[in-house]
Structure formats: structure tokens, C-alpha cells
Symmetry: D2
Amino acid sequence: MSVPSAILQLICPDRPGLVSELSGWVAANGGNIRHADHHTDLGAGLFLSRIEWALEGFGLPRQSIAPAVAALARRLDGEGLLHFSDAIPRAAIFVSRQEHCLVDLLWRVRAGELPMQVPLVVSNHPDLRELAEGFGATYVHVPVAAADKEEAEAAQLALLRQHGIELVVLAKYMQVLSSDFLEALGREPAQVINIHHSFLPAFQGAQPYQRAWQRGVKLIGATAHYVTEELDGGPIIEQATVHVSHRDEVEDLIRKGRDTERLALARAVRLHLRRQVMVYRGRTAVFD
Amino acid sequence: MSVPSAILQLICPDRPGLVSELSGWVAANGGNIRHADHHTDLGAGLFLSRIEWALEGFGLPRQSIAPAVAALARRLDGEGLLHFSDAIPRAAIFVSRQEHCLVDLLWRVRAGELPMQVPLVVSNHPDLRELAEGFGATYVHVPVAAADKEEAEAAQLALLRQHGIELVVLAKYMQVLSSDFLEALGREPAQVINIHHSFLPAFQGAQPYQRAWQRGVKLIGATAHYVTEELDGGPIIEQATVHVSHRDEVEDLIRKGRDTERLALARAVRLHLRRQVMVYRGRTAVFD
Amino acid sequence: MSVPSAILQLICPDRPGLVSELSGWVAANGGNIRHADHHTDLGAGLFLSRIEWALEGFGLPRQSIAPAVAALARRLDGEGLLHFSDAIPRAAIFVSRQEHCLVDLLWRVRAGELPMQVPLVVSNHPDLRELAEGFGATYVHVPVAAADKEEAEAAQLALLRQHGIELVVLAKYMQVLSSDFLEALGREPAQVINIHHSFLPAFQGAQPYQRAWQRGVKLIGATAHYVTEELDGGPIIEQATVHVSHRDEVEDLIRKGRDTERLALARAVRLHLRRQVMVYRGRTAVFD
Amino acid sequence: MSVPSAILQLICPDRPGLVSELSGWVAANGGNIRHADHHTDLGAGLFLSRIEWALEGFGLPRQSIAPAVAALARRLDGEGLLHFSDAIPRAAIFVSRQEHCLVDLLWRVRAGELPMQVPLVVSNHPDLRELAEGFGATYVHVPVAAADKEEAEAAQLALLRQHGIELVVLAKYMQVLSSDFLEALGREPAQVINIHHSFLPAFQGAQPYQRAWQRGVKLIGATAHYVTEELDGGPIIEQATVHVSHRDEVEDLIRKGRDTERLALARAVRLHLRRQVMVYRGRTAVFD
């Protein structure tokens, strides 16, 4: 894990020879492939590839790889994304009052499970300041009232720019992001990850645990997904469920759900950070 | 398991002393309690109890227990259901063309896992006749066309009466039962069990696997539930899920789903037959 | 949950009428039963019961309940344990260098999931002092060298007495407790809970993840159990497993295992604290 | 699935360029790769690859592929196995008295889930003849007494040869195969798959459910593995577990275990048949 690698995520129209062409390109430049995984979506006629190779010994200097990848993608009429495993993204975590996902993420970052930095925690409540600061993050309380949502989002955007944020994780942030905000982020949908406390598409929207209890389901779940303008409709990265019984009150569902939320969100963020997730046509391919 | 027992399912308004009163009633009649389980729904103010005791040595003769239970329930302003573990219900299985749930149920009956008899299999297709007959069931093909659905259901009802059926299991029966049919069954909703191939309430209605694939979920599920007039809205008995990935096509979801459907349905039918399920207010308490 | 209750755990030879006798005793004293669960071990001829009732309105004053329970147990030739839900036990957590279980437990205590106090954290390493103290616990570094193990254990015992400890949780404490130590704790085996990082009885002893990797298993697990003199042989409270693949190196097993360990240990400690676990004949009955 | 493909399983010493070399070889011959998956065992210094490509349009005639693959493997100082997806192996299922795995496998073959033929069922008991014959298999009762085990195994070997068997599935066959028998099969260990009714390495040997009950475990499992001379020690393909409680008697463990056994064995056989399993150094890489 300690030796840095380059990771190429490429998507292009399917045709014979692509696996060979991509691995051949890496090999021709002296690259030693560590992982190579591909997927063909037959219905869509698309080929998706994730190739990871050691930077050590690779013939192209680091700064020349991106242009070379861009040329390769153009030649294949596709799109390529290049990542370096030693580039540690700067992430902001958005929270409201519940701390469990925030604690869990910050602990995992410290434990080395999640290759990211968290310089910034944003909340519409003041409650979790001490916790965030204890892990070295700047905590900014940005109240969000119905009347001044636009203003609040402008402040949030400024914070994200100021801290050079590349990834936003909504860790039980109980506010809906406007489409203006999402657009203004100026990045593809893959850049905001949310945890929803139900096994989507069941119980989209508010109060999923209460509604799950009402419906009398025998399992509850959590869904980590990229955020798009369609509420709770973005590409799903990870889902998990846990059994419940008639003995469980709503508060038990909430308690049990916390563990499911923590695990699903942590796994999703890890998969994202290791560049194991590719998004296309409203869905994900997860190369794990 | 071989020594017969009586099983009382009682539901009544909650008040102190009910556990003692019920177990005291059994003990006063010389009954040896094997299982006693209770649940209080605080919000509804309801007390649910399931008590099972050995018939051997019980002071009341078998035919006198039901009236005694009825008197007890009246005294508690509640409702009681009495079952005997050695009364093996007669069940009809409704199928369409898919055989996996039917094979599974019939095999489990033969293996002694499901204490029921299956004298009758009803289908809107002729395909599974040989299979059903191989297990000793009468197979009746009742075609269901949009135009003559009423007629078909009348034929089905006649068959159920003729075979003395107490439980109907919809084992991938791809037709919606009319509310007239359900009413005419003349029994409470607990008497028809269906398997739906999604983790309800997600993907209610038709084509759940196709829609699950479209949505890009990372888990698929199955739900066994009692049938009510509200389509896919009846009390849930059992749910199970299994992980899927981007590599799974719709046909893979269907294949993986078959195992989930078989297990969820078999567990639900077993719970029902062992009188471990109590239905109230659109939900179930499962005493397992 | 906030209204205090009494919890009786009783074990005695099986005979007819016990459920009625116990619930009758509670009712006769005006108690309102919240939960009543029983189990008969037919092979052992033993009856186990857990009854929980509201203290409010109960006819016996709090201090008179224990003697009354003792008399009841004597009459039934059994043993009874009485607990009050509002008595919050004082627990010590033993750790070595790994922090994940410690963080998790302390966080859950703070979040109200685990009804215990943690005044003391004991470790054979100095590493986790800041963490423990951040949650308000006293951290004592008691080095354990092979030569002076006896001395170290004497110091640990003194600490436990000094802090009035009723429960010891071994949260990845990588030392074996001597039988002298366990005896000197002067309490039944139910009072020390350990998390072992394998699905016992597989991989008893040291290095379970390394050995699991060597064996090429497709799932790894964790086991929370009461500690007895038989290493890794005490009564099991909770077990959990997670799938692994050939892609997982030993370090991946360790990482995935951390989540399994945290969950299994937290569930076991919660079950213990809510007095849902009864120990007999080297095994547990878990009334959940 | 319907268009036939070639599948290459190759194992060789690791070195840079192997992914490119293999995919380049396929592409150079005009092959369209459907799946390509690789694994490097860093500790062992080994590279494992599974490549599947469409036969349609491939430049080499079918009968020339094997020699070409052999040459390729030689050049890489490794070993290659070539399979064709439309070559449906002939399998024999060995059973004793329990039918659940046999029924399940035969049903899945008929349902198209398992691409194999089952011309032969061998048993040391006469019980399951009708069942096997109902699915069109020849059923041979070969009694195995301690005194004449050698003779019995000779008869079994003759049957396997006579029916052209390439895969033996031990579906709850309660006899240990001698090392002579395994050797005489004259094939690599990958050719006999067994289902063991515990999560190995726990409860190796006889009576695992009884011993699991004795130990008081909270989960039971099943393990599908290739058979080697070391009893219950062969490479593991698939494992599954299910939760049990103190309420479960040994007979409940056996009942719950049946479902786990059926699923684990069916999954393992499917993985094997689709050539997704590679065996090396006593372990498996499962490319799913």
C-alpha cells in the first residue's frame, strides 16, 4: 500500500481488443499492473476499466501521465480519469446533531483506514464543535433557516473553496442541498456522498425509521450514495441491512440503524477514495 | 416435538397482571408450560401473548379447551385463538410457471420441516402438473384471463372448499387476487401468505428485479407477507436480502433472488404453521 | 426505558407450574411485568427465567426485594439474581495498544447505548492514555512482563477494588489472565467479558487472523464470551462473521475484523448490562 | 451465456507485463475478452489469471487453442488450464441417506443454474434411488463396510470410469475417501468437492452439530471445499453461517444447517463449473 500507484478509470464504447489495448499501453510504458478490472455493460454498449499500476519504474514522468491518458481516452472515444494513490483528497464532512457517523469517519481517518484529510466540518448546529476540533478539523456552524437557505449555501461554498475541498461527505446532515448548490460545486455528481437511513428506494425522504416501524418491516437498512439533484435518487455505492423484530421500538430501530449507517458510509467512502467506484448512467460499478 | 401441545394466541388491552393471569390459568388446569412469550405494544396499549403447554396431563378435555379459552378472552376483553400442535392444516399452493418455491415447499413438507398437508396445487398454467403430482398433490389448471377473472376465482374458491383448505400459499403466483376473492375466503387476512420478490416496501408491484437493476441497488430481497386487499401491503412475516453487484444482470438477480424467495417463504410458512405469528394492526409479532 | 424496573434471573430444576409461580409472585406483590422470558433445557432438566417488572407500584420496598427473591429461589431449589435497571455498574476496560474497541465502547456509553460507567481503563501499554482520559476515565499503565505477571495482576486487582469495579471488559487486551487472578476477582465467570478475534472454536489462541489467512477461509469472525480459566473456552455471548476473499491480505482481515470485533463486543456488553444473558453449564441463554 | 467462450486459467511466477501479455495474446488472435481477472499473491510471488473470451471470431480453430495455451504457459514458466463454456462436465453425486443437497443440486441442474450433467448417483445406502432416478440419473448402491472399504472404492472407481465422470460432488456422503481412492482418481484435488457441516476449521471431523451445540456457539456454518488427503483440510471454496440461539436444540441446528449446506454447496459447484475457482498452495482464488 505504501508504494504509490497510478489509477486509471476509463469508460468508452465497447469493442474487441480494449483490455489488451489498455494493459498494453501500461506495459509499453514499463508499468507493472497491480490490479486490472473491467466491466462491459452489454445493454449500454459501454466498456468500463479500472487499471492500477506502480508508479515506480513507469516510463512516463508523473506530470506527463494525465495528458497521455487524455490522448488514450480520446483515441477510444471515451473518458478517462487519472488518480494517484498518494494524493490524499481534502474532504469536508457535513453534520447536523448526530455524531455517530462523524466520530466513525474521523476515527477511521486517524486509524489509516480512509486515505483522506478532513480539514473542515460544517454543521447547521453548534453541537459537535468540540468533537470535530478534537480531531483537528475546523468546525464552522452555518445555520440554515428556510428563509436564508441561499445565503447559507453561499457561505458553505465559500468554505469549501477556501479549504480546497474535493469531497463532501454528508454524515447525517439533515438538510437537502439545492440544485444550485450542487451545480455550483462545479463538479460531477461523484463528489458528494450521502448516507440515507433506509434501504433505498424504500422510505425515500424524511423519517424513514418511523415509517419502517409503521410498515412493520423485518429489516432496516442504510444506503450510501452519490448526491444528485434527484433527492435520494443518486447512484448507490453501498447498502446494508439488519434484522429487527416486533420488540424493537422506533428508538431501537434508530439505535440499530446507527451501526448500519456507520458501516455503509465508511465502506462507501473507502471505496470512493481508493477509486474503486465508477459512475455511469445513474449507477455505479464497484471494483472491489 | 412429538408430544402434542395446545397453543393459545391472545390479544387484549394491556393492564397489570396479565402474564400471571394467563400462566395461572394454565397452571390451575394442570398444564405444563413449554413456551410463554409476550409482547406489549405500548403505543397501541395492547398485550399479546403466546402460550404453549403440553396436552398430556392437562385437566380440561381437548374439546373443552376452546370454550374455556373463549371465556378467558372475553373476561380480558380480548380475542383468543387456540391451536393444537398435532392438527396438521390442509394447505393449497398457488403457482404460475416458476417452480422453485413449489419444489422447496413440497420438499420441506416431505422432510418434516413444515407441519402441513398439501392436497391441492392450483395454477393458471399447466406447466407444473407433473411436479405437483409427484408429491401426491392434485394439480388443477385454472386459466385466468382478464375477461373471466371472476369466473376463475369462483372455480378456485370451489376447489378450496372442496379440499377443505385452511391456508393458501402463493408461491410465485403471478396474479392479483381480487378483494372479492379475499373476502369470500371468509377468513382473516392471516390465511393467505404470499412471497414478493423485493424487500418491501421497495419495488411494490410488477417487475421488481428489473426495477432493482434499473435503480442500481446493491442488495435485492424477498418479503413473505399475509395478503390483504392492499396490494403488497399486508403484514410482513419475514424478509431477507442478498448482495448484488454491477456484474449481475437482471437474469442474475432473478437467479440469486430465487434462493432468497425460497428461504423467506419457507421460514414464514413454518412460523405460521407453528403458530408463532400474531397479526394486529397491519403488522406481525413473530415469537421465535 | 426511563422508569426503573427490577429484573429477576432465576435458574432451578424444571417442573410444572414454574412460569405461573414466578409471574404469580410478581403479580401478588402488585408488579406490572414488562418482559417475561423462559427457557427449559430439557437435557439438563433445568428451567431458566428472566422476568422484568416496573418498580413503580410494586408492593415490596426496594431493599426487601432481594431477601424475598432469595426465599423464592430457595423454595424452588434454585438460584436467583436480582438487578435494578437503574443501577449502573462500574466497569473497567482492559486494553493493549489497539484502540478500536475502546473508542467504540466509550462512545456508546456516552451515546447512552451502554448503561455502565467506565471510571477505569487499564493497559499494559501507555499508548491510549489520552483517549481514555478524554472520556473521563482514569488510565493506569500496568506493564506486564513475563517475570512479574503476578505482581502486575496484584496491582490490577487493587485498582479494581479501589474503583469499585463490577465488570471487566477485555477490549483487545492481549494478555492471558491467570486463574489466580480470575479466582481472586471473587466473582462468578459472568463478570469478565472478552472479545476474541475469531469465530470460536476456530483459531483458539494467538494470531487468529494470520492462521485464518493461512487456512484460506472465506469468512472471518469475532466472538464475545465470558472469561473462564479455560483459554478461549468460556460461555459465548455473541458471534459475528464477515466474508473475505483471496484478495484480502492479512492486514485486510485485521481491518475487516475490527468492525466485526467492535460490533460483537458492543452487543455482548449491552446484553450483559441489560441482564439479558444467563450463564449455566458453560453456555449462555440470551433473552433478546 | 449462450454464445460459447474459452476460459484460460493460468498460474505463473509474477513479473511485470503479464496482464498485457495474456490479453495481448488473446487480442492478437482476434479474441474479444468478456472477463479478465487477475490476482497476485505477493507472499508466494505468484500471478494468477482467468481470462474468458468469445470463441466466435477467434482466429485459432478450437482444437488448436489448447496447444497454443500450453506453449504460452511454458513461455511464462507456468501452468495453464483451458476450458470451453459449452463443454458440460459429467458429474457423479455421492450421497448417504440425507437427500437435501442431492435434491437441491439436481433441481438446480434442471433449472439451468449448474452447467453439468449428472448421469450417476452413488450411495452407500439404498434410500435415495427413486429420487435420483426421477431426475434421470443411474443410482448405484455401493455398500461400504469397514472390512471391504477397498473393494467398495474399487467399485466406485469403476463406475466413475464407466460413466466418464469428471467431477465428484460429495453431497452429505458420510464416508471418508481413502488416499488411495483419491490418488486413483488420477486427477488434481480440484475434482472432488465436499460439503462439511461446520464453518471449518471449527468442528473438523464427525458430529459437528452436536459439538457446536455442546460448545454453545451462536452461529453454525457450512464449508464447501475440494477434497484432499487431509480430512476436512482441502482448499475452501465457499462458507456460510447462520445464527442460532439457546432455544435451538441439536435437531434445530441440523434443520437450519441444511439450508446453509445446500446454499454453500450449490454456490461452490457453480463457481467450479464456471471455472471461477483456481487452486494453489492449499487455497483458492475465487474470481466472482
